[in-house]
């Protein structure tokens, strides 16, 4: 197994764990954190592909990672703000209790 594959596997595992958390936790904030983890997994992929890729002298991978970190930061800020607003609306962050999104 080459180092690249190792990195990819690691990121896949990270992604899976994050996904599992996002799918199973009841606390909305932790769900958000799971999503953050998934984003980080993607970042690991970028860096790994950049490092083991054909021309590491180019900065493409780095750029991808930096931008996605920035976007992730924005996403976290807005997400948490939304969660706070939702909490103020219905005094809970329990996703099972927040089920008004119903047809």
């Amino acid at each position: 197994m080459t180092p690249l594959q190792a990195c990819l596997l690691l990121s896949a595992l990270l992604f899976a764990i994050g996904l599992a958390g996002a799918l199973t936790r009841r606390n909305a904030i932790l769900v958000l954190i799971g999503i953050e983890l998934m984003l980080n997994a993607a970042n690991i992929n970028f860096i790994a592909f950049w490092h083991y890729g054909p021309q590491p002298s180019q900065t493409t991978g780095i750029m991808f990672a930096i931008f996605s970190i920035g976007v992730a930061a924005a996403e976290a800020a807005v997400g948490l703000a939304i969660i706070l607003a939702a909490y103020r609306h219905s005094r809970t962050t329990d996703l099972d209790k927040m089920n008004s999104l119903k047809g």
Partner: protein
């Protein structure tokens, strides 16, 4: 290009700016408004002097053009121009305007719309100066319209009186008729030459390229395109400067305040028409065209000049005759203005722009002087305008009398002293030498005689004889601001304040001296305007004869007037006029200005009314009927349609909706409202997708 040329636009811009500001001022802030207008006008005057100096030492056309609109490959250019013509007009307009502004602060001081008045005045001055400096027919036309608008506003300044409002409308519509011709001519010119600039380094419409591109084509047999355009533009000029048959608005325009009459309807605006013709002179003058294209010109080319000449001559005579039989002091002056404008057109036609412009300038001064004098008289007589009710005023208002007398002499062309003599003499001389016909000369001479006569008559009526002013007399109905002015002693007249008499004095000074700029012995003005040295024409044959004739004519007229009116002064208000006693019908005829208004009322206006009725009938019964019919049909269809809807379509739809909502409820069960459940679905879908893709890859 010197500074002044580049910034010539400042001259009109300043008064306009002042107008704009004072439009925003509250109604009660009179002093700032007047101060703004006067100061801006003063600055413009100084600038105009700079421009004049510049034009003095650099003759020829200096212009500044810029792109205004860019459509497709061709662009519409505007610009301004500085040449002797512009320079002279600039100085004249700004100077007379300045004086009249100062004068009106005194004249209007009791009016509650003081601020509005000065706002309009400033706007007018701006527009007029714009007309003067324009280097593009389009720009000229815009300013031209601004001027027309302001004249409308100012004539109807006392819009409370219906007569004033009517007069304003009349003026606006009449000039509009002329402007229509102007507009058509302009468009045609643009279509032909693809430029509206006058001068553009040979590319302008008045220069070789423009002219050459037009000349030779004929619009309708006998008249070339050039001539047609010239005549059309002349329509605009005629409308503005009250040439027959579009003169009807000018006498009625006297409804406006007297300074307005002086400024707009004597000195500047009405002169705009003459100025326009002088500006586009190359278009209508065959000599210029000969210069441009060496061929002998077809006679059709200079039809416009002939038209101008004849119309001018007719107008001159007409105005003079009508003025003889008027009672209203301002109407007399108005008709004399009409006839003088006729003189200018005549001079322009027969003797080129220099002659016409010279008379224009001198006339501007002494006519403004006369109007302001009349205004001062009216002011002093607390709003009285009927000369039969005045008389013997020379005792009460000496300054006014003196200045007015000078103006009267100037207008009636008193030999050798006053400016009017020289300018009119130049016109007569040119008319005398005219190759086409002698008739204009004789008409002009007769006109001159009448001019002298009616001026004398007026002066005799107003200033001599005994005071016939009724104590707090029946104030003439058409002076609404008399309510304001009455309070200072109706009954016994009084001299006007210095702020009104000072401009009179200044104008009087110029009314005398200005003439010496253009004597045949020293034709400085002509040479300056033509841009080439003109040798003194004293030794020319016929000159002396003409000069003698005109002086004799003038003296004769004055003598006649004195004989009829001065010798046995009029004593009572209702004394019948001498001429009236002699020739009642003629007098009536003349008094009503040949019944031209009645004629128009009987023909054009009635026709228009009738057309309006006809179209109204059409609209009401025929078109409306059709519309009603259609609407009924539509209603019927709609009813049918609704029936169909309710009983056939809806049924089918209802069943459809029921089934759909059922299925929707079934699906809604899947949607339990928990975000994570949805996330799970997404995840499963992702898995399925990836498996599918990889399978595709694997195989």
């Amino acid at each position: 290009m010197t500074w002044i040329v580049r910034n010539l636009w400042l001259i009109p811009a300043l008064p306009m700016l002042a107008a704009g500001i004072s439009a925003l001022l509250p109604q009660r802030s009179r002093r700032p408004a007047a101060g703004l207008a006067i100061s801006s006008m003063g600055i413009s005057f100084l600038l105009a002097l700079c421009a004049f100096a510049n034009a003095l030492h650099t003759p020829g056309h200096q212009f500044f053009n810029f792109n205004w609109l860019q459509f497709g490959d061709q662009s519409l250019q505007l610009g301004w121009l500085l040449d002797p013509l512009t320079a002279v007009m600039l100085v004249m307009v700004t100077f007379v305007g300045l004086l009249i502004f100062i004068y009106s602060t005194g004249y209007m001081e009791h009016d509650e719309n003081f601020t509005r008045f000065f706002c309009f005045l400033g706007l007018f001055a701006g527009g007029m100066l714009g007309v003067v400096i324009a280097n593009s027919l389009l720009l000229l036309f815009m300013c031209w319209e601004i001027v027309g608008l302001t004249s409308y506003l100012l004539i109807g300044f006392w819009y409370q009186t219906p007569s004033a409002a009517a007069a304003a409308k009349k003026a606006f519509i009449t000039t509009r008729i002329g402007d229509l011709g102007f507009l058509i001519g302009m468009v045609w010119l643009y279509a032909q030459t693809h430029t509206l600039l006058f001068y553009n380094n040979g590319g302008g419409s008045l220069e070789q390229m423009g002219i050459v591109s037009i000349v030779g084509q004929t619009a309708i047999p006998g008249i070339s395109v050039l001539a047609a355009i010239g005549i059309l533009i002349f329509c605009g000029a005629a409308g503005k400067s009250g040439q027959v048959p579009l003169h009807v608005w000018l006498p009625d325009a006297m409804e406006g305040p007297t300074p307005v009459s002086a400024l707009i309807h004597a000195a500047t605006m009405v002169a705009a028409g003459v100025f326009l013709m002088a500006r586009v002179y190359p278009l209508i003058n065959y000599r210029v065209i000969e210069d441009y294209i060496g061929i002998g010109t077809p006679p059709a080319v200079y039809t416009p000049l002939q038209v101008v000449t004849w119309v001018g001559a007719i107008t001159a005579l007409f105005g003079a005759t009508v003025a003889v039989a008027q009672w209203d002091i301002k109407r007399i002056l108005a008709y004399s203005t009409v006839s003088q404008l006729g003189y200018m057109m005549l001079g322009l036609g027969v003797g080129g722009p220099a002659v016409g412009m010279f008379h224009l300038i001198t006339h501007a001064f002494f006519k403004a002087l006369l109007f302001l004098g009349a205004g001062s008289v009216i002011h002093g007589c607390s709003g009285e305008q009927d000369i039969r009710r005045m008389g013997g005023l020379r005792k009460y208002m000496p300054i006014t009398f003196a200045t007015y007398g000078i103006g009267m002499l100037a207008l009636s062309g008193f030999p050798l002293v006053v400016s009017g003599f020289w300018s009119k003499d130049a016109i007569l001389h040119a008319a005398h030498n005219w190759s086409v016909s002698q008739a204009p000369f004789y008409m002009a001479t007769l006109g001159a005689l009448l001019t002298a006569f009616y001026m004398t008559r007026q002066v005799c009526y107003v200033f001599f004889g005994s005071l016939r002013l009724p104590s707090h007399g029946p104030v003439s109905h058409d002076e609404p601001h008399s309510e304001d002015t009455r309070h200072h002693g109706a009954g016994h007249p009084h001299e006007s304040p210095a702020v009104m008499t000072a401009p009179l004095a200044i104008l009087a000074f110029f009314a005398i001296t200005l003439g010496f700029l253009g004597t045949p012995a020293w034709p400085w003005f002509q040479s300056f305007l033509e841009g080439r040295a003109i040798e003194p024409t004293t030794h020319e044959p016929g000159l002396a004869a003409v000069m003698v004739t005109s002086s004799i004519i003038a003296l004769l007229g004055i003598a006649l007037g004195w004989l009829l009116y001065g010798r046995r002064p009029v004593t009572t208000c209702d004394a019948i006029d001498v001429l009236d006693r002699a020739q009642p019908q003629t007098f009536r005829f003349l008094h009503n200005a040949y019944y031209i208004d009645a004629l128009y009322a009987a023909t054009f206006i009635r026709l228009t009314r009738w057309l309006a009725h006809l179209s109204n009938f059409f609209d009401r019964f025929i078109f409306n009927g059709v519309v009603q019919l259609v609407s009924f049909g539509v209603l019927a269809l709609a009813w049918l349609d609704s029936f169909f809807d309710n009983y056939i379509v809806n049924f089918g739809f209802d069943t459809g909706w029921r089934s759909i909502s059922l299925s929707g409820r079934a699906l809604a069960a899947l949607q339990n409202g928990r975000a994570q459940a949805y996330l799970r679905y997404i995840g499963l879908a992702l898995v399925a997708l990836v498996i599918f893709l990889l399978w595709g890859v694997a195989r």
